[in-house]
């Protein structure tokens, strides 16, 4: 077989050694390598790992020796937004590198083939790369009616996922839908939508939530897998810590205004024009873990808060049901039903009247007892 290494392929495309090392540096930066990773994770001989190797050199060494990574990309209850974000990414260097470093064996939106041909290609790939390929899932999986809400080629999403997951080396759930159920899972969740990690429990699943997922984050995870053959360190929600370790609020460029108590109160007031904090307009920054505020979008151009819109919290589980988008984050999730509160008040008052009446009777009896003497 002897497939060309990634470096070989890049060389064939006219990438110079200098450019290649630059790219390696970019990858190293993207996956958050400031120095050498733990020895075991690096997969390198102990002697090498201990030496003064730069992270960049280590990436280069991997790309020089490893062949391209096979990827199977499944779409279920999705909008293809994550695919769109990735394929139209404005950070060409990194994303191109990674897209060059992987071979997408199956992708409904991107592949030229369709129907049985495409399905056949997928099966071939699954067989050929069994135990090696990375499974990327976009979109949530409906569980209701035995998965009848989403079928491809007559098979339910659940079925396809289980089959594809069996031979995968790792699974990347990209976007909030695949990670946590996303929009399809919003109340009342008619399809009983679920995220991948709720279904597949015997394989490493990394969640890259967001609506869509930040392309750079996706590529960095792939690059990490490429370089180390393992998924990056994850948090309790299986999100890569490097990108989901801090809240939007922590890195927000409007944070000083929050500290100073300067808030925009509507989208067209003085505060909004001055670029003040959007907290009172319902910004979910304080509870949202994502890299928007540092990586930003469109090649580092901007992100929603910079553009004047509060964070919706799209990388958090259940963000559709996490209270109104434009309601203050500290506020309770919903306003209590006035009839319920009224009923409770009435119940309290009635109990008060009942005990009050008993107390009055007691007082009368006490008076009588004294008069009797």
């Amino acid at each position: 077989m002897a497939e060309d290494s990634i470096y070989e392929r890049l060389k064939q495309q006219g990438v110079t050694r200098r450019d290649f090392l630059k790219l390696c540096g970019a990858v190293a930066g993207a996956i958050g390598l400031s120095g050498l990773p733990p020895v075991q994770a690096s997969g390198l001989p102990v002697t090498l790992a201990r030496s003064g190797y730069k992270a960049r050199d280590q990436v280069a060494r991997v790309l020089e020796t490893k062949s391209r990574l096979p990827v199977i990309w499944l779409e279920f209850q999705d909008c293809a937004g994550c695919t769109e974000a990735l394929s139209r990414s404005h950070s060409p260097t990194l994303v191109n590198l990674v897209l060059n470093a992987i071979t997408v064996e199956y992708h409904e939106t991107l592949s030229a083939a369709a129907g049985f041909q495409a399905e056949g290609a997928k099966h071939n790939a699954m067989e050929k790369y069994a135990g090696q390929y990375v499974l990327v899932v976009e979109g949530s999986i409906p569980m209701a009616l035995d998965g009848a809400y989403c079928t491809i080629g007559g098979r339910s999403a659940l079925d396809i996922l289980k089959e594809s997951a069996a031979g995968a080396a790792a699974i990347i759930a990209t976007g909030n839908c695949a990670a946590f159920g996303g929009l399809p899972k919003a109340k009342p969740n008619p399809t009983d939508a679920k995220g991948v990690w709720e279904i597949v429990t015997d394989k490493p699943v990394v969640n890259i939530p967001g609506c869509p997922a930040i392309p750079e984050v996706f590529t960095a995870v792939v690059a990490h897998f490429l370089v180390f053959g393992a998924l990056p360190e994850l948090d309790s929600l299986n999100r890569p810590k490097t990108f989901y370790g801090k809240t939007i609020h922590d890195r927000c460029l409007r944070r000083p205004f929050y500290e100073a108590g300067k808030f925009a109160l509507s989208y067209d007031d003085e505060g909004a024009k001055e670029g003040w904090c959007l907290y009172k307009l319902g910004c979910k920054g304080p509870t949202t873990y994502n890299a928007c505020a540092s990586l930003k979008w469109d090649g580092g151009l901007s992100f929603p808060i910079q553009a004047g819109h509060p964070c919706l919290g799209c990388s958090e589980p259940g963000f559709w049901d996490g209270g109104g988008f434009y309601q203050g984050q500290s506020a309770p999730l919903s306003r209590p039903d006035l009839t319920v509160v009224g009923a409770a008040a009435a119940a309290g008052a009635v109990a008060g009247v009942a005990v009050g009446a008993a107390n009055q009777a007691q007082k009368k009896a006490a008076k009588k007892a004294e008069k009797a003497k």
């Binding site: 005990v355 107390n359 007691q362 007082k363 006490a366 008076k367 007892a369 004294e370």
Partner: protein
Amino acid sequence: MKSVEAMNTFVQDTGGWVASQLEACTRCGMCAEACHFYQASGVPEYAPVWKMELLRRAYEQKFTLIGKVKVALGVDKAVSDQDLEEWSKYLYYACTVCNKCSMVCPMGIDIGSLIAEVRAGMAAAGVVPDDLMAAVNKQVEEGSPLGVTDDVFESRMEWVADEWEEDLPMDKKGADTLVVFSSIEIMKFPTNIAAIAKILNKAGENWTLSSKAREIVNFGFYEGSHEHTKMFLERVFDGAKELGVKKIVVTECGHAYDAIRWHAHNMMDVPDMEITHIVGLIGEYVDSGRIKLKAGALDNGKTYTFHDACKIQRKGGHINEPRQVMKILAPKSFKEMSPNREEAICCGGGGGVIAIKDADALRYQTFELKVAQVNQVGADTVVMSCSNCRLQYTDCVEHFNLDWKVAGLSQLVADSIMD
């Protein structure tokens, strides 16, 4: 069972007024900082909030579900006879019902009134200290705790009239004003009677004494018994009604003024007549020019200060009149104590405390606060408008061997009145 009687009274008397204040109490303990008995002795049980603890427990146990649950779970115990005996000491030995605690309560709870209510329960249960109860019984039987019977009253008044050559009209029909003295004045400070008579006569007041309403003192009010309080008030009102007066003047007696002026109307039918205190009347006279005082009469190099009585000043409302008088009589030598006016520290002898022999040690200890206060001003003479305070002062001056003079305000006014 004593506790049954006490609980019965608590249940009857606890309305929204009492309950809402008990509910408001946060048990922060600040009231202790105001209580002269606690400050002097450091005994935590003397904290005002602890004195009304029985009332709170009674309220919770009888009227609230949580209280019933607490008793069922054993967190709280039903109020027992032993509790009553114990609290009897706190309530009668270590409380003058001066209500200073209410001034510092952040919630503004009228603690004095609530403690008075606990005393009502004590009275119903019959756990009032013997000395105090003996005085009450004496007043029930003889009409006076100090033995001022009809004969004694008559002879004392005749003697005062002779001795000081003042006209003391007795049972005068058609008089406008009925003046009722306290037995302390009748038996211990007769000069006060002469002084007040002089003031009234100089002012041209159409006044009288009553052989029926001859005693304003109300030991039932100390005891806390509604029944006895009403009985003694009734005697005064009967005398007043019989003479058809328009006004009742209470002389230098604190608790009696509190009872008749601020409580009687809510306890019984009160004849439609004005009720005032002699200090208020003096203020009126001075204002309207019916009596003229020698300005600076007391500016003789000695320092004077005024002791605010809890039930005439803080609870009576006559705070300005004595100062108005003192500023005329001693513009240079009158000095205020601190704290004073409605914030004043109580003498420590009121509320029946001075009548209880066993409470003497504590009473003297408490008076040390007053000693410090007066010494700070450097006063030679302490003026006051309450005979009970005056009794406490004279007793303590002797006990501590102090060189102050103690004077009644009416006396000073009478001495300085111009013809």
